[in-house]
């Protein structure tokens, strides 16, 4: 059974290779090849899942050793895969949602000439993401980590003819480099501390290392997670990443890749458990981001950017839960999975709306679409109810658990974190209701596009609505299915561990408070956007609104502090480089060049002088051999 693991990765990798190398003759069928191989991988995933379910709880870790990548004494890097309950969960999410989004993209990208390449990139992403979650050591994980970064770059900039898309791709790449640097430093620290980077030895011996060392590793891992998962302070790229095609936003920048940071923290739980300071920083980052993202989401008029803010905020919840240690690991992953369903569904819904509205993204130019796109309206609506935590739907179960866990942290921290999470729930209810009302209810505020075409909203084809329906089903039922009988907890507990914590307030009170927050958020939004007409041009708004529209000044901050500071640093370095380093380097190069020119003259083309050189060489060789014997 272990041997199937590599095939999980091999299928989409083959797809990427075939599609990217295959050339134009595959243009007509490329989308189906990509979808087929993605689904193949999903089928392998299901087979493995059934196999795991049939095993005892303590026998659910499969290891496949493929080959030894770098065999050096003292530095062993293996290509080994580990499939356990945690990676299995990710495999099903990645391949399942991934296949649905492949199918959706068949419709969405129908008129794009470069669609074969698009599907090749999507398959490449799947392969890299699967490598990331299936790796059995941090070095191999790093390969997958860089791979998803590359795929993300290629897909954000897929419409490279738009300068904004090219810039967004570059921005995402650069910001991610900062995080990647953190991961590489963490791996180096691990190697110097433990002498290996395989999960087994590192995580089981984590407590052997000093706490200072573990805190350093933990903070570097957190930096990596911040980059990939768009957490403060490395959050700035996610909003711009919405320049990519909408299926990409759904798959990579909502459901899967951006959750890699959460995976990294949960996977490295043993390190964080032994480094409470690092854990505290993780919870702070999570709490700050969940509010940051939610506030940004309130102010955006671009439907995809509003959803991007929401993604950031929801991942903030997950990071917060992951920072709580064993109290929160399971719920971080549970929220990750339910979020994967409903956020992917919301993005696909947004894509469907854009598809029907001449690619318009400004919600102030939507309105009243529910009659024209009933399927989109219903599936989007179910996703909406799920994300705000409407009782009985997926988000209700998973988010509620995180809020409870935050309180269960105990002490002042518990109160602060719990309150942040509650406030976040209220803001979530507000901005999502705003999106819902502005898009599907109220007056028609449609405008012709820049070519003067009037929008004629229509329902999307079946190939797009079916994935949306499947995801909506998941958004409705997944949370309940996981929570009833604590199924998800029992499934994941052997890997992540679990403890109840000691909550100062009962679970019922927390749920009640969450409901109150939900009602307040929905109510305010209804008063503002449901009862009053939505102005077609955004009003000036308060200072906070204006700041939130500018992503809470993230880019201004980065520009002033990092770009200006960096420029000054670069200028001084350039000076040193030109005067000092270049002097040495150019001197050496000129020296070798001169030597080369002189030696070259010996090669004069006359066989006689070559023979003399050989004779001299032979004489030297004989003399040297004799001399060696003499001494």
């Amino acid at each position: 059974m272990e041997n199937l693991i590599a095939l999980l990765i091999a299928a989409p990798l083959l797809g990427a290779a075939v599609l990217l190398v295959g050339g134009r003759r595959l243009d007509a069928v490329g989308q189906w090849i990509g979808t087929l191989l993605s689904t193949t991988s999903f089928v392998f995933g299901v087979i493995l899942f059934v196999d795991l379910l049939g095993r005892n709880t303590d026998d659910r870790t499969l290891i496949q050793h493929l080959y030894t990548w770098v065999p050096v004494a003292g530095f062993q890097a293996d290509v080994t895969f580990r499939l356990d309950q945690l990676s299995m969960t990710f495999v099903l999410l990645i391949t399942g949602v991934g296949s649905l989004i492949h199918l959706y993209s068949v419709g969405y990208m129908e008129h794009d000439e470069r669609r074969r390449r698009f599907f090749g990139y999507l398959n490449l992403f799947l392969a890299a993401m699967l490598l990331l979650v299936l790796a059995d050591n941090y070095l191999l994980l790093y390969v997958g980590w860089e791979g998803v970064g590359l795929a993300s770059y290629l897909l954000i900039g897929f419409w490279q003819h738009k300068p904004s898309a090219a810039t967004a791709a570059k921005k995402a790449f650069l910001v991610n480099r900062v995080g990647d640097m953190g991961l590489s430093i963490a791996i180096m620290l691990m190697f110097t501390t433990f002498g290996t980077f395989a999960f087994g030895p590192v995580l089981s011996h984590a407590t052997d290392a000093s706490e200072g060392r573990l805190t350093a590793i933990g903070l570097m891992l957190l930096l990596a997670a911040c980059g990939k998962s768009a957490q403060v302070p490395l959050q700035s790229w996610l909003g711009d990443a919405m320049e990519g095609p909408t299926p990409v936003s759904a798959l990579i920048h909502a459901a899967t890749m951006v959750t890699a940071g959460v995976y990294l923290i949960v996977r490295s739980g043993a390190i964080f458990n032994a480094a409470p300071d690092a854990q505290l920083v993780v919870t702070v980052v999570g709490a700050v981001t969940l509010l940051f993202g939610a506030i940004v989401g309130c102010a955006k008029d671009d439907i995809k950017k509003a959803l991007a803010g929401s993604t950031m905020s929801q991942i903030g919840y997950m990071v917060l839960a992951a920072g709580l240690g064993p109290i929160g690991y399971v719920f971080a992953i549970m929220h990750l999975v339910t979020h994967g369903f409903f956020k992917a569904g919301l993005f696909l819904g947004a894509g469907s709306v854009m598809h029907g509205m001449n690619d318009e993204v400004d919600m102030r130019r939507y309105g009243g679409l529910r009659k024209y796109m009933p399927v989109t309206f219903i599936t989007f609506g179910l996703g909406y109810l799920a994300i705000i935590g409407f009782p009985g739907l997926s988000g209700f179960f998973s988010k509620d658990k995180i809020i409870e866990a935050a309180f269960a942290k105990g002490g002042t921290e518990g109160w602060i974190l719990g309150t942040c999470a509650l406030v976040g729930a209220a803001i979530t209810a507000f901005y999502m209701t705003r999106v819902m009302l502005m898009t599907f209810f109220g007056e028609k505020r449609w405008q012709p596009d820049e070519h003067g075409h009037e929008p004629h909203p229509h329902e999307s084809p079946k190939v797009m609505t079916i994935p949306m329906i499947v995801l909506a089903v998941g958004s409705v039922f997944a949370g309940g299915f996981f929570s009833i009988g604590d199924r998800f907890l029992h499934w994941l507990e052997p890997i992540t561990g679990h403890s109840e914590g000691d909550s100062p307030i009962s679970a019922g009170v927390v749920t009640g408070a969450t409901m109150v927050c939900l009602i307040i958020g929905v109510g305010i939004a209804y008063l503002q956007y449901g009862r009053r007409p939505v102005p077609a041009v955004a009003p000036r708004g308060s200072l906070l609104t204006r700041a939130a529209r500018r992503d809470l000044l993230q880019d201004d901050f980065n520009h002033v502090v990092l770009v200006r500071g960096g420029e000054h640093l670069t200028r001084s370095l350039v000076y040193v480089d030109h005067t000092l380093v270049d002097g040495v380097v150019n001197g050496t190069a000129a020296g070798f060049g001169g030597l080369s020119g002189r030696l070259r003259k010996l090669q004069n083309g006359y066989a006689r002088s070559y023979a003399v050189s050989m004779f001299g060489g032979a004489a030297l060789l004989v003399a040297a051999t004799l001399l060696m014997r003499a001494v």
């Binding site: 060049g593 080369s596 070559y610 004779f615 060789l621 040297a624």
Partner: protein
């Protein structure tokens, strides 16, 4: 001559003939060589009896079948355990059948097959008078520029003799690394050298340059052979035998007398040291080590490019194989004498090749100096005097030969009105015009430079590791410095191809037949496979790394 000696001559002749032992030849174990020689003879008959029009096809067919069959024979022998447990000395002590022999023979045969593909290419040059032409002169005997040359071209003559010549050279190369006595070594040396001298003279374009290269190669090769032969004579005087095993025994003192007639010279160390140095010098000439390298750039540049590629790869494999066997089987007892000397040679070879390459302006000369630097890197592995040293050299040779043939095959594609455009300035901006060809060449250059994920890195790493473990750390440091210098000119070519403006009157990239495509494809595939997953092949080389004594 004394009367006693004369008398003994008379009596010897009178003795019964039965004293000459019947030679016992293990035909099965020698089959790779025999197949290739046989095919070469068939090739000669083809020249004599097959009509001119079908000769090309017949020759290519015979050569390809023979090389494949010989390779299959090598694989069968290896699978039968002749590389490990059944390794022994065959043909009356003349030929060693063991791991290194079989590994190197396999490498030479594959390199020969890929080389044959480049020989068989007939689509690069425009058709002359309605006849497809290859890289070789229409009629080698006609004076360049003369009327008879014109007539030969017009008549559509082609020199299909190159195929039997190639096979004869390969046959010699197969024997060279497995020769187990000095005379077989010398015969093999000449058997593969003479066809190469001829092949060098056969370029279709720039014939005078090609003939000059051949004459230089021949003169200097003969000069080097003379040294080798003299060295063999001295070693015979020292040990009283040309057999590797006997010489080794005399060197380490376990045998003291072989032939009473040589009692005066037996065991005279001066003969051993001078003789060994001279034989080694002959081999260093073949691998192109400094200061015996001067022929390399001129010959590489002048020879037809397919010949250059084949020669650069296969000669190096064969000669390093012979050098390894000589140093590890015959002279291990005097390694404290030869190791420091080889240190020196390795250092000046690595540095010399890398430094002079910096100022080259012709791509073929650049690759020639690059091959000199690589000879230095391989010597570093030879010096390790350990099993790892042998296996790392075997791996390096296999990796290097395919990169080399592939790189020279790419050189044949870039052409202008005068044939191949080998001046570097013409390669400017090639990446814009033909991204695929430039990318493939860049892969080869990165492999030469030893960048990770190419076979060059795995090979260099193995060689330097073996050398460092053998106590030659300073040598490794110099090796790494030379690699850095060498990386400069490889990367410079890449920069030139991808980041320079193409010239308006630049060369065109010819579309080759499947033959050259296969040669380049094999080169790229081997380069990447050996770079990404070298372990299997390192293990193979490691298993093959034991000489039979």
């Amino acid at each position: 001559m004394s009367t006693a000696a004369v008398h003994s001559l008379w009596t010897t002749a009178a003795e019964p003939i039965s004293k000459i032992p019947t030679p016992k030849i293990e035909y099965g174990q020698l089959s790779p060589t025999l197949i290739v020689v046989g095919a070469a003879i068939v090739g000669v008959l083809v020249e004599a009896f097959v009509p001119r029009k079908s000769r090309y096809y017949a020759q290519v067919f015979v050569s390809a079948v023979a090389l494949c069959a010989a390779f299959a024979a090598v694989v069968a022998l290896a699978a039968d355990g002749y590389g490990t447990t059944k390794a022994h000395i065959a043909a009356m002590g003349a030929i060693a059948v063991d791991g290194p022999s079989l590994f190197l023979q396999g490498t030479i045969l594959l390199a020969g097959l890929v080389g044959l593909f480049t020989f068989a290419e007939r689509r690069l040059d425009p058709e002359a008078h309605g006849n497809r032409v290859d890289s070789f002169a229409a009629q080698a005997a006609s004076v360049p520029g003369s009327d008879s040359e014109q007539a030969a071209v017009k008549a559509g003559f082609t020199t299909t003799e190159v195929f039997p010549l190639l096979l004869f050279a390969i046959a010699g190369m197969l024997v060279f690394p497995s020769a187990n006595d000095l005379l077989t070594l010398f015969v093999a040396l000449e058997v593969f050298s003479l066809p190469l001298y001829l092949l060098c003279a056969l370029a279709r374009r720039k014939r005078l340059m090609s003939q000059e290269a051949a004459v230089k190669y021949f003169l200097l090769g003969a000069f080097a052979s003379a040294f080798t032969l003299f060295g063999i004579a001295l070693l015979y005087g020292y040990a009283g035998s040309v057999s590797y095993a006997t010489i080794a025994q005399v060197v380490d003192g376990s045998v003291t007398s072989v032939d009473p007639a040589l009692a005066n010279t037996m065991g005279n160390d001066a003969l051993l040291l001078i003789g060994a140095a001279m034989v080694v010098m002959g081999l260093l000439f073949k691998v192109g080590a400094v200061p015996f390298h001067m022929w390399t750039p001129d010959v590489y540049q002048g020879a037809p490019t397919p010949v250059t590629g084949f020669m650069a790869a296969a000669t190096k494999v064969a000669a390093f194989g012979a050098l390894l066997r000589l140093l590890y089987v015959v002279l291990p007892g005097m390694r404290w004498d030869w190791r420091p000397v080889m240190w020196g040679v390795a250092i000046i070879t690595m540095l010399g090749g890398a430094i002079v390459a910096i100022t080259q302006t012709d791509i073929k000369r650049l690759l020639a100096y690059s091959s000199i630097a690589h000879a230095g890197f391989i010597l570093a592995g030879v010096i390790a005097t350990s099993k790892d040293g042998v296996s790392s050299v075997l791996f390096y040779l296999a990796a290097y030969s395919f990169v080399t043939i592939g790189a020279f095959a790419v050189v044949t594609l870039v052409r202008d009105a005068g044939g191949e455009a080998t001046h570097l300035s013409k390669w400017a901006g090639l990446g814009r015009r033909s991204p695929l060809v430039a990318a493939v060449f860049a892969v080869f250059l990165l492999a030469f430079a030893g960048i990770p994920l190419t076979s060059g890195f795995a090979g260099k790493f193995a060689v330097f590791k073996a050398a460092a473990e053998g106590g030659a750390v300073p040598l490794v440091v110099i090796g790494v410095i030379s690699s850095a210098i060498a990386a400069f000119f490889y990367i410079r070519v890449i920069v030139l191809m991808f980041f320079s403006e193409p010239k308006p009157e630049g060369p065109t990239v010819a579309v080759p037949s499947p033959f050259t495509m296969a040669a380049i494809g094999v080169g790229v595939a081997v380069t990447l496979v050996l770079g990404v997953a070298p372990q299997y092949f390192l293990n193979l080389a490691s298993q093959a790394g034991v000489f039979v004594r």
